[in-house]
Amino acid sequence: MSLYITSAVIIRNQTVRKNGSVAFQSSETNVHLFLRAIYDYLEVSYTRFHKMDALNKLGWAAAEFLLQEIESGFVDKESAGIVLANKSSSLDTDERFLESTKSVASPALFVYTLPNIVLGEICIRHGLKGENTFFVTPNFDITFMHDYTEQLFESEAVNACIIGWAEQYHEQYEAAFYLVQKSSMGLQEPFTIKALEKLYE
């Protein structure tokens, strides 16, 4: 089966790169302010953003850039999936929730103490209804993500898929999102481990 990477977004070091080119840069070193700067730059009105924790905001922002200009290429969102991974799960928010339990536990914090919420927020935003999975792994295992994604397509579980890495813990953050589709559009990069690694550099 021929699969293609049709869009790729890397967010790290106060910079968003889309398909290899710088799409956004900010001088904000604080992760929350950096992600807010992205939100302002995108000029979208999406009030749920303000309620998200930093991990959710990072995933949301990466998906926004990833799907810009290509959203109409999602012919069948019913079977468009998303598979992400990170190493810290939602530990950053888990720690803040634990701290809040020393006084009055915050239900507003609790609702975000799962990495799966990142998937949910992206699916709600873009109407994706296919397979979705979030792995917690020590590092971004590109070979594993490639092979798992291929299997999803081969078993016809998805007809398009966002895959990648969304990691945030305190001020450390990194996102690497790829859109994989059956048709050659956008970036038109064949879906190979080598191509994923090259775009991740």
């Binding site: 807010r36 749920r48 953003f49 303000h50 309620k51 924790d53 930093a54 239900p107 507003a108 914090l109």
Partner: protein
């Protein structure tokens, strides 16, 4: 009186940001009259619980009638007016 109301609304904005964990929102982002729920800050039912806790913790005010919630929590101004009225009632 107006100064008191302005100070109270400024205080409430800081407390709302803290209580609801709106980590990248600044007090200046919140308009005194903008709706807090759905549009505006996009708050939801869980946040309503947080605001009830905020009223109890910081102002020792209990919302005795939950049906008043939508009106009281409509905006920062309506919340400030409710607190002011409750304080006057308490003498």
């Amino acid at each position: 009186m107006n100064n008191n109301m302005d100070n109270l609304m400024a205080e409430l904005k800081a407390q709302i940001i803290e209580q609801l964990n709106l980590q990248e929102v600044q007090p200046g982002d919140i308009d005194n009259d903008q709706p807090l729920f759905r549009e505006g800050l996009g708050l939801d039912s869980i946040d309503a619980l947080e605001l009830i806790v905020l009223l109890q913790q910081h102002y020792n005010i209990k919302l005795s009638n939950p049906a008043d919630g939508p009106e009281v929590f409509y905006s920062v101004r309506s919340l400030a007016e409710f607190i002011t009225a409750e304080r006057e009632k308490a003498g």
